[in-house]
């Protein structure tokens, strides 16, 4: 009796907690509300399954608990029931997988008009690079890294000379324009993560990884590192400032290019 009741309370308690929880995702600031919607679908399907399973279990505990004279029913298998349950499960799974894969295909298809920018991770700080007038980022190589060239840009690449380099400052982005964020690490794995954007991706020394998104509201957002990268992992913070186009351009004017930095 008590056991069945407690199991029911566990199921009900979980659902009540879900609805009343003050801890929920941060208000979204990117185009990925599709991800949030897929998550909601998943919550519904799995929530129903959880309550059904625990509820049925509690009912069995109550109804078939041992009492004098009680005898269990001998029934090795029941094909129809098993097939029926399998099909129902497969449908539930498909209902989550289909939207999931659909949204993933968008997540991995970068729009042609996305601006390429770069985020570089090193222990334990973020640096950024924005394309200059030409709209292109120059090439880079870890072997070129030195005190005066902290991101290892190739000095012989004309595309790179007008790149804007931001070390230890905030990343600024114009609202409403898709960006392809190229990710590079110069020492160990890191992961550029801004909860409000929903997207994240590891950065791997020796490779360039990426994700894309469109900032949809202005504001200042905190970025964290989401891949254990050594003792400073938890303090590897940064800020992303999403601005209107005019504010962004005004800010951009004040930044220094690679050529200017190198001429120091």
């Amino acid at each position: 009796m008590a056991v069945a009741l407690i199991m029911v309370l566990v199921a009900i308690g979980s659902v009540v907690f879900h609805w009343l929880s003050p801890w929920w995702w941060t208000p979204i600031a990117s185009n990925w509300e599709y991800i949030d919607q897929t998550l909601i679908i998943t919550f519904w399907i799995t929530g129903i399954a959880f309550v059904a399973v625990v509820g049925f279990m509690a009912w069995c505990i109550f109804r078939y608990r041992h009492r004098p004279g009680q005898q269990a029913h001998y029934e090795p298998e029941n094909k129809r029931l098993e097939v029926w349950l399998t099909v129902a499960t497969a449908l539930g799974v498909a209902a989550m997988l289909a939207p999931g894969l659909f949204v993933w295909s968008q997540f991995v298809s970068v729009p042609d008009d996305a601006t390429e920018i770069e985020v570089v991770g090193k222990q334990w700080q973020w640096s950024y690079r924005l394309p200059g007038e030409d709209g292109k980022l120059g090439t880079s190589d870890v072997r070129l890294i030195s005190d005066t060239n902290p991101l290892g840009l190739n000095p012989d690449d004309p595309n790179g000379r007008d790149d804007v380099v931001i070390e230890a400052g905030d990343l600024h982005l114009p609202v409403g324009r898709p960006v392809k964020v190229l990710l590079r690490a110069i020492d160990v794995l890191h992961d550029f993560y801004v909860p409000e954007f929903r997207a994240k991706m590891d950065m791997i020394p020796g490779s360039v990884t990426y994700f894309w998104f469109t900032p949809t509201r202005t504001g200042t957002f905190e970025s964290l590192c989401a891949e254990l990268c050594g003792v400073g992992h938890a303090v590897m913070r940064g800020r992303v400032v999403v601005q209107t186009e005019e504010e962004y351009q005004a800010w951009l004017q004040g930044q220094r290019t690679f050529a200017q930095l190198a001429a120091r």
Partner: protein, 587 residues
């Protein structure tokens, strides 16, 4: 029905065995220490695993103290915190759960449940334990080595694992960890080959594969998987050792560390991740499948009802085992691997949910129309169902690639895997210990202490890990010793962290009560008799309790039926042991 079966077969002649066939111990030392008896080895494995598991438990308290009350405990600096999570995670997964399920329960139960006298290679079996013990000692040694244990996280990702920004990276920590893992794998391989050959070759007369209890199916499949999966980790560990000690660059690209150009170049960090997870994902099921098998037997026995859909259950175990080798990269959705892999791995991952769900249904359908005795093994089995279903369902979030993107590397993941591969298998381990302790020692564990242990552990663990999902949803990353001032984290989240920590300490205390019970009942427990649960499987039918060396006295048992003849209509008792001849064949 073919050869399966729950129907009783025809009689089979008895099998005699020479006394000389077994190696008999001659001294106390060869009987209890350097023993070749699988039962003793099983107990040795179990005690060692529990002892090292206690270390992991204490580490979890320290971590929770730090997370709940950051800044209060000076000695837990970030480096120490990372060392704690690494050792806690690795010990729990490998040195506790894997060793306890396969080395502990595997050794004790395989020969007994199959009607064999021992494992087929007793000497190798003994070596397997001693190498495991050595692996544990090497691991423990890293706590005392200069620089302390590694703090690379239990995933040991390079390049950071062997660089100086990570605790133990340039000291002894990572070297000892990798060596210990290699030793563990060598020891496991010796045991694993033994379990496999014993299941295939040493079953008694009448014990067809499709009459084996699901416990054995679970342990057997997990062992085969482990034999296939551990080599990937072994190779990865050796390659990383070479990178660390000899300066090779298997996993090391050109990189600049703290302003210094290092001489590494050309290697691939992602390669290690593939090797690690090719082991790491099957590892989850190496822990889960024995738990699935054992819990099936606990439920059937204590609900006095045949396991529902036995053949489906066997096939589900085998299919899950096979599929689990093609889902590994779902741990790497945001690792930077080619994004198209996401489509494949999300699909395979969600497909696994189907056989897994079938297993859950069949457990429920076994309870349905049963005669449920709410004793301790049954309570833990019920606790397992709740936590496993909960953790399994959140797996559908993380497996569905795009939903994983915001959640990966957050506390949601920590909550998910603790529920599904931490709490759930531990529930089964406890259920199993309450269930088989009477066979191992001849006495029952104390019921009152057991009930307290169950309720505190089950409800406590749920209170720890259920709300934790919502911290992850909020965006709190995992492996942060202190979330500190973060714009999107409200004060209430700190309160929740403190609450979780308090509950974790209470749950920890309940485990100490269990340990006490384990020793107390050795002397004071109620006498159990040979078959206290009225179970059908062979281990309960031994001539002596605890079973002697060779298990069966002069004659091996003969099996006439499947393991689940509970409450057969018309039978005199509500259970019919596997070795009870059908009425017609009885002499």
């Amino acid at each position: 029905m073919g050869d399966v079966a729950h129907t009783a077969g025809t009689a089979v002649p008895h099998d005699d065995i020479d006394g000389a066939e077994l190696y008999h111990p001659h001294s106390w030392l060869t009987k209890y220490v350097f023993s070749q008896d699988a039962k003793v080895i099983g107990v040795q494995y179990a005690l060692t695993a529990i002892a090292i598991g206690m270390v992991a438990l204490v580490l979890s308290w320290l971590m929770r103290l730090q997370l709940g009350f950051p800044g209060t405990f000076d000695f837990i600096d970030p480096a120490a915190y990372y060392q704690f999570i690494t050792m806690h995670g690795m010990i729990m997964v490998v040195y506790l759960l894997t060793a306890l399920f396969l080395g502990g329960f595997g050794n004790y139960l395989i020969p007994l449940m199959l009607g064999a006298r021992d494992m087929v290679f007793p000497y190798v079996n003994m070596l397997s334990y001693w190498i495991y013990l050595l692996a544990v000692l090497v691991l423990v040694a890293s706590f005392f080595a200069p620089g302390g244990p590694t703090g690379a996280g239990w995933t040991l990702y390079p390049p950071q694992a062997i660089l100086s920004g990570t605790p133990g990276g340039q000291d002894w920590g990572i070297i000892l960890m990798l060596l210990s893992l290699c030793l563990f794998i060598i020891g496991f391989t010796m045991g694993g080959l033994n379990y496999t050959v014993t299941v295939l070759q040493a079953r008694t007369r009448g014990m067809t594969l499709m009459r084996m209890p699901l416990t054995i199916w679970g342990i057997f499949t997990a062992t085969v998987m482990a034999l296939l999966a551990f080599p990937a980790l072994f190779v990865g560990a050796v390659m990383m050792l070479l990178d660390r000690l000899l300066g090779t660059s298997f996993f090391m690209p050109a990189l600049v560390e703290m302003g210094q150009q290092l001489s590494y170049g050309g290697g691939s960090p992602i390669l290690f991740q593939h090797l690690f997870w090719f082991f790491g994902h099957p590892e989850v099921y190496i822990v889960a499948l024995p738990a699935f098998g054992i819990v099936s037997d606990l439920i059937a026995t204590h609900a006095r009802r045949n396991i529902f859909g036995y053949r489906m259950m066997v096939w589900a175990i085998v299919i899950i085992g096979a599929l689990s080798f093609i889902v590994w990269a779902h741990h790497m959705y945001v690792s930077g691997m080619h994004p198209w892999f996401g489509f494949f791995f999300a699909t395979t991952t969600l497909i696994i949910a189907i056989p897994t769900a079938i297993k859950v249904y069949n457990w429920l359908l076994t309870l349905w129309r049963g005669n449920i005795h709410l004793n301790l093994p049954m309570l833990f089995a019920l606790g397992f169902i709740v936590t496993f279903v909960n953790g399994g369902l959140t797996g559908l979030f993380l497996g569905n690639v795009v939903v994983d993107v915001p959640l990966s590397d957050t506390m949601f993941v920590v909550a998910h895997f603790h529920m599904v591969m931490g709490v759930a298998p531990v529930m089964v381990i406890y259920g199993a210990l309450y269930h088989w302790y009477p066979k191992v020692t001849g006495r029952m564990l104390d019921d009152m202490m057991g009930k307290i242990h169950f309720w505190v552990t089950f409800l406590g663990a749920y209170l720890i890990f259920f709300p934790m999902h919502y911290l992850g949803l909020l965006g709190v990353p995992r492996r942060y010793h202190d979330i500190g001032q973060t714009s999107f984290v409200p004060d209430s989240a700190h309160t929740l962290n403190a609450f979780i920590s308090v509950v974790a300490l209470v749950v920890g205390a309940a485990q100490l009560l269990f340990l006490f019970n384990l020793f107390w009942s050795l002397r004071r427990g109620k006498e159990a008799g040979p078959n206290p649960w009225n179970a059908t499987t062979l281990e309960w039918q031994t001539p002596e309790t605890p079973p002697g060396h060779g298990n069966w006295g002069r004659e091996l048992p003969v099996v006439y039926r499947w393991a689940y003849d509970y409450s057969v209509p018309g039978a005199a008792r509500d259970f019919t042991p596997q070795n009870e001849p059908p009425p017609a064949a009885a002499p």
